[in-house]
């Protein structure tokens, strides 16, 4: 006998008892009218129930907070909860919109029996803020019905089912109303009547629902499972060593993968190719794409790059007897419609180049420069892998007119220079850099850049915030333009050092 256990989680946070907060309700559009789809405990206490029109609810409680019902998010959340529930049982079924059924046959003893399991699940759900109602019964339908409509504690299961209201059958509203009008209020009233009359009056669905509830009929269950892993493989009776054959097989594998991906509306992010040689050696090659893709030609080209950049080339030896393709990472990729102006094609071409170069050089080698909010010159930019940056962050444009104020190349760390200044606090007169003497012809400055004192402990006190830099833009007699700074003011340090930080055009 299957013993099932069901829990119904309402998507309400537990802190519903807080009086100070206004009541909350979620609305959905039903046949052109806004009706409440879900309400919280505070709203329920005021007599506001799901199914009411929003206008009626507002009349009852003007301060009602209303948000729109997001069924997709609810469904996703339920699925996530259900996946977490697989800690307790391998067979978990969704009972949308707010229920989960666990088949606990043969697993409850691992958690200290049915009571132990219930306590554990209750605690876990309470920890993430879910209110929970649960029941254990011999069929999934009975468990669901008891959890939703039954008494909190059940001694005799059959008696408890008989005591359930007819609403627990899950029939449509008209049939339930008709049953109630006929004086049938409980399941028990229905079981004593001949099934033929019930079927004649309320349809065969009512009979099936009743039988399933009573455990006289078994319904199929749809167990939640992970999608099949994307693993494709070819085995050969004779080892293959010819490049052309391997390429053909690989293309076939990629096409197979593309078909499966297209069926699931997915695109691959990572592709792993494993070549099994006859002597047991394995070659494992992995590539990554910036965007999810299922284009076999593109993936093939990336693999080609990867193979070309290998330190020691692939050696087929006596041939491969197995070739496998595995896709560990995928992303949703709906079928797209190309635009008419061809801009998308341009973008795609560039993205493809970025992928190709990143694959060939390694992902950290192709960079895009992004601005960083710091006035220290060496911290003003971030070099991010071009694969990850999308779309690019714009850089501020300098004001019109005037020479470049920031150098094109920066030394990090800055390079020490010996400087002769006319006055201690003044601009450099001549300086020695890389063992060459440079005579300063033109200069501009100082541009004073303070240290980031707020990052230093006690930096807000005078003299504790680190050294200030005085930057000078200088040009020597040969026309080379440099960015030089004195590290520290004379008030801060008796003998400040000079550094060359950057090179201008």
């Amino acid at each position: 006998m299957r013993r099932s256990r069901q829990e119904a989680g309402a998507t309400q946070p537990e802190g519903a008892s807080d009086i100070s907060l206004p009541p909350l309700a979620m609305v959905a559009k039903v046949r052109g009218a806004l009706r409440l789809a879900a309400v919280d405990a505070r709203a329920q206490a005021l007599g506001i129930v799901p199914g009411m029109t929003l206008a009626d609810a507002r009349a009852l409680e003007p301060e009602l907070v209303v948000t729109e019902m997001d069924e997709g998010a609810d469904r996703q959340w339920l699925e996530r909860l259900a996946r977490d529930c697989r800690d307790w049982s391998p067979r978990v079924t969704l009972a949308a919109p707010d229920g989960i059924t666990l088949d606990i046959a043969g697993v409850d003893h691992l958690f200290g029996g049915e009571t132990g399991l219930c306590t554990q699940i209750e605690e876990t759900m309470a920890a993430i803020g879910m209110t929970l109602r649960h029941a254990i019964a011999s069929t999934p339908e009975a468990a669901q019905a008891l959890a939703r409509h039954g008494a909190p504690s059940i001694r005799d299961e059959r008696a408890a089912i008989r005591a359930l209201p007819v609403l627990a059958l899950g029939l449509d509203a008209d049939s339930t109303l008709a049953l109630n009008r006929a004086g049938i209020r409980q399941i028990g009233d229905l079981t004593v009547r001949p099934s033929a009359t019930i079927a004649a009056r309320f349809g065969a669905g009512a009979i099936h629902a009743l039988y399933r509830l009573m455990g006289e009929e078994q319904a199929p269950i749809d167990v939640l499972r992970d999608p099949e892993p994307l693993h494709f493989e070819r085995r050969f009776a004779e080892p293959v060593a010819l490049q052309a054959t391997i390429a053909t097989v690989f293309m076939a594998l990629l096409q197979e993968a593309a078909t499966v991906l297209a069926e699931r509306d997915l695109g691959g992010h990572r592709f792993v190719l494993t070549l099994y040689r006859t002597d047991g050696a394995r070659h494992r090659l992995a590539i990554e794409t910036g965007r999810a893709t299922r284009d076999p030609a593109l993936v093939l080209r990336l693999f080609d790059e990867r193979i070309a950049s290998l330190a020691d080339p692939l050696d087929p030896g006596f041939g491969y007897d197995r070739i496998g393709l595995f896709l560990p990472a995928t992303d949703p990729l709906p079928t797209s419609q190309p635009s008419l102006d061809g801009r998308e094609k341009d973008e795609a071409e560039l993205a493809e180049l970025i992928e190709r170069l990143s694959t060939r050089l390694g992902p950290g080698c192709l960079l895009r420069l992004a601005p960083r909010d710091s006035h220290l010159p060496e911290q003003a930019q971030l070099a991010l892998p071009a694969m990850d940056v999308r779309p690019p962050v714009p850089w501020p444009q300098p004001p019109e007119g005037g020479p470049p104020m920031r150098p094109l190349f920066l030394f990090d760390p800055p390079q020490r220079v010996e400087v002769l200044a006319e006055v201690p606090d003044g601009p450099p007169h001549r300086f020695r850099w890389r063992r060459k003497l440079h005579e300063v012809r033109l200069y501009e400055g100082p541009e004073r850049i303070a240290n980031e004192w707020w990052r230093h402990k006690g930096g807000e006190c005078a003299g504790q915030g680190g050294l200030t830099r005085d930057y000078y833009r200088v040009e020597d007699v040969q026309g080379r333009r440099y960015w030089i700074f004195r590290h520290g003011l004379y008030e801060e340090k008796p003998d400040p050092q000079w550094y060359l930080h950057g090179l201008f055009a």
Partner: protein, 262 residues
Amino acid sequence: MRIVDALSVSAALGEAEPWASHIASLDEALGGGLGYGQVHEIYAAEPDDASSTASFAMAVAMGMCQRADRPKQTVLWLRERRWLKSAGILQANGWAELGGAPEQGLVGVVPDTLSLLRAAAEALHCGRLGAIILEGWGKMPALDLTASRRLVLAAEKSGVPLLLLRIDATPASSAARTRWQVASAPSRALPGNAPGLPTFDLTLLRQRSGPSGLHWRLEWDRDRHNFREAPLSGAVVSAPLDRPLADRENAPQQTGGRRHAA
């Protein structure tokens, strides 16, 4: 072993008009301007001119990217990791100060010369790029006649110009269309004795069909994205050729203001 024999090449663009620098003598010497889909070598006169040479290449690349039919083009800058220390880190701020859009730029930092050339050849297949700058230091024995011919063919196919920087190197035979030498030149001082606009001493060392050995002194105007001729006597403050003097005194007010506010 390779899986694919030949990489697919993006469709070649139509023959584009060369980029005119708007300096009559320069354009005339080049027969119209610098051509797209070609390789141009730019040598630094001395290793200390590296940043000037790089800025000149950047300026040319930005000028060549100003095409009305294809806006927002990407410039790819390829560098070798071991020279980063002596060359300095490329700054997007400085790039923007030269008039470029660094957000459209890509920087490739590669481990060795061979991958530098390979990456350039690979990137030349992508017609979406505006220009590629390859920063080469030292002799680069891997860049022989065959390698440079390969780059030329790839550039011709896609129509993307390749600017090949050679720093600390002596000119050697190659398949490039033009060969230049760049040295930094004294700029025209701004009021307050401040260094002025980027100024270059430019020599056309060689070109495939046309005169060579010519010399210019150019200033880069980042707001208009073009060069203009600078007076050769850079040591003194000279009157501008294209604007009245009074205008000049107004213009650098911002600079002076920034100087004192700094």
